[in-house]
Amino acid sequence: MKLTKKLVAVACALAITIMAFSSGHIALAESGQVIKITAKRYEYNPSIITLKKGVPVTLEFTSLDRLHGFNCPDLGIRTDILPGKVSRIQLVPKKSGTFPFQCDNFCGEGHENMTGSFIVTE
């Protein structure tokens, strides 16, 4: 009896895991928006990005000149952005608000101004 219960529990857990995994991928494939962001000295384009809480998106970064970084500590995401290579981050915003991001690979005199913000709405 105990063994049966355990097996059922394991099966349920496995099923839930598979569903979660599948639904994540399906959601991204069907409704996940891809936001292309270019980086160059000393700006991101776009630099203000509006997202909806709970709606998954893929951020796709390319550099137009040199190594840059992208860091948004409030949302716990960062990546290097290298010339000739696309960097991707999948994101599901879990909270609303305004969350700044900035370049965190020193890139020159205007490095401090290479910033932007996510605006996450309910």
């Binding site: 190594l67 500590p73 409030d74 700044p100 991001f101 900035q102 401090e112």
Partner: protein, 299 residues
């Protein structure tokens, strides 16, 4: 004692008319120690001179600010044992020749300091675009140790990597250097960026700074002095104190006090406000002498 200088005298001596460049006097009191300290002493931390910076709205005196700071230090009746520059000696430039020219000019200006024991480390403006190549040519290694009167000074480079990391190789070196020391050793660490996460969204952090702090945590008497943020800030990670210095070119706002970090514009009504350097006096507290003698009384 001979080289002792109090805060009031320091402030008075360093004032140039209405221009006061001294930001304060920190005191390191080492709580426990087995080594014999030869003497109390003080040193000066100067930081973020950004030689080559050119924006009259932020600092119309940019071409003389560093020279004034040098004069202010030279005017002290009691000179420090040594002076430490904690990075951003120059304003960054893409031009390698111009970077060397600025570093050379900076070196010429600070050569006017009466104190000849002057030590340097780079900031990201000096080193991040060429991985410290020009700095090394003109000033030597970007990380090193030295000992002064029984205090172990460790200079860490967290800027030659444009990512603002110390890096595994240097962390390994740090571990090796620390292993040579007693757990009660008096240790002062100089860095440019803060080792801890002061404001990551303003890039006021060191990506792998936690690893350095972890290595230092095993030692009981550690103090960290850093630059980068152009203002004083005092923070504890466990028993380790971290103190930042004001800059010598322009102030920056308090961490995360504004939506976006920006240099504080020059105020003609209060020129030089927010700029300065710091003196640090080392001292063995009275109670520590008894602690030093503890093994004897215990025996």
């Amino acid at each position: 004692m001979k080289n002792r200088i109090d805060r009031r005298e320091f402030l008075k001596l360093a004032g140039i008319g209405s221009v006061v460049l001294v930001s304060g006097m920190d005191r390191i009191v080492f709580a426990v120690g087995k080594e014999i300290v030869n003497k109390d002493f003080f040193f000066i931390q100067m930081s973020d001179s950004h030689w080559g910076f050119d924006n009259p709205k932020i600092n119309p005196d940019a071409k003389i600010t560093l020279k004034k700071a040098v004069s202010a230090v030279n005017s002290l009746s009691t000179q420090p044992d040594f002076i430490m520059f904690t990075g951003d000696l120059t304003q960054t430039t893409d031009d390698d020749k111009e970077r060397r020219r600025r570093l050379n000019e900076f070196r010429g200006i600070v050569s006017e300091l009466k104190v000849k024991d002057v030590r340097f480390m780079p900031g990201e403006h000096d080193a991040s675009l060429d991985n410290g190549a020009a700095f090394k040519e003109l000033f030597g290694e970007t990380h090193y140790t030295f000992n002064h009167s029984g205090v172990n000074f460790i200079v860490l480079d967290n800027v030659s990597d444009p990512a603002g990391s110390i890096g595994d190789a240097e962390l390994k070196w740090l571990g090796t250097e620390l292993n040579k020391l007693d757990k009660d050793a008096r240790i002062v660490v100089f860095t440019h960026r803060p080792l801890f996460d002061l404001a990551p969204s303003w890039d006021w952090t060191t990506r792998d700074g936690a690893k350095a702090i972890e290595l230092l945590m095993a030692y009981r008497n550690v103090t960290v002095f850093y630059g980068h943020i152009h203002q004083e800030n005092h923070h504890m990670t466990g028993h380790i104190a971290h103190h930042s210095a004001k800059g010598l070119m322009y102030p920056l706002p308090a961490p995360l006090s504004l939506p976006k970090k920006a240099s504080v514009p020059w105020d003609p009504a209060a020129p030089y406000r927010g700029l300065g350097f710091r003196g640090i006096r080392t001292e063995i507290a009275k109670s520590d002498y008894s602690l030093t003698e503890y093994p004897v009384t215990k025996g």
